[in-house]
């Protein structure tokens, strides 16, 4: 496949393993990194990518995952600071073109926007969806009333 990407994902929890499965199924080359070996059990049997066991805050582990060749890098561990550190290393040292980090704390998200690291904050995303639901509920209710 021509548009197959080389994607590195740090963290093989619910989000990381889900992304890895989907992207692998879509034909991309995927490498998943996690500290704990048993988290790789979360991956489906169809997952055809690589698993790297190790602490991603160690340079050696990121090198093993061949980060230099990566097109896309996702940091999805449950620790904000791990995600922020590895995302910066991926972006600024390995020069990965697309880097995205999950950050739970919206305050940290703002600071890293200023440092040029793209983040996704599940709290902000969920809040937005809830607020939209409220807004559409209101307008739907408004229509009913008329």
């Amino acid at each position: 496949m021509n548009n197959s990407l080389y994607i590195v994902i740090v963290g093989c929890g619910r989000l990381g393993s889900h992304l890895a499965d989907q992207l692998s199924r879509a034909g991309h080359s995927v490498v998943v990194i996690d500290k704990k070996e048993d988290t790789f059990n979360e991956l489906s049997a169809a997952f055809s990518g690589f698993r790297v066991m190790g602490d991603a805050t160690r340079m050696a582990v990121l090198k093993e995952a061949k980060l230099k060749q990566a097109d896309v890098f996702f940091a999805t561990t449950h620790e904000d600071n791990v995600n922020l550190m590895v995302a910066q290393v991926a972006r600024k040292i390995f020069r990965v073109p697309q880097v995205l980090a999950r950050v739970f704390d919206p305050k940290r998200e703002q600071v890293y926007d200023r440092l040029g690291i793209e983040t996704i904050c599940p709290t902000s995303v969920a809040a937005e969806v809830f607020l939209m639901a409220v807004a559409s509920g209101q307008s739907a209710g408004g229509q009913e009333a008329t």
């Binding site: 340079m59 600071n81 550190m85 590895v86 600024k92 040292i93 305050k107 940290r108 600071v111």
Partner: protein, 225 residues
Amino acid sequence: MKVLIVGTGQTLYFLCRRFTAKGYEVVIINRNREECTQLARQLAATVVCGDAGDATILGEAGAMSTDVVLAITPNDQDNLVICQLASVQFGVPRAIALANDPDNFEIFEKLGVSAFSTTHIVGSLIEQQTSLEQIVNLLPVGEGRVNVTEIVLAAGSPVAGRCLKDIALPENALVAVVIRGGQPIVPRGTNQLLAGDRVVLITLPANHGRVLNLFTGEETWRSRG
């Protein structure tokens, strides 16, 4: 001076004790409630209990008016983020992170955060102390960027009997002082070095090995440059 320290354990305690003794205003952030209570009892410092990676906690600890932030937790990722929050969000003029993993020293500096590695500092200290017999004292300063080394010139030293101006010192190295018979001499070019002199050298890690070779004649030196 106001210093904000994030960390745990003995290093934190003894550093704070040293800083408060010097009259610095010290604020500690630590996650563990019990340790916080202990620290507050033992030290003349303000102790804030919480996660220093949380901007609210940093704000409560007075990050806005802090001169130096020192992040010395056992987790490198926390040290990095704490220093970045401190400098980006609170404009702290100087934030220094401990790199527990010595590889992270370089990474932190590349990401714009001042760092130090105790493994580097202690390691080079031990290597340098043990690899040359003529070295009597060695002190890394400037976070290990500069070495102050005291050596005793042996009779066989290539520079014994020579004038300072005739010794081809590499760039960025200096003979700071010569102690002869208990008398310190700040040497000029015309001063002669003699066997038995205690010579204090200023070097950088990059030229340290070469300078020591020059003064001691020992080739066993392994440069860590």
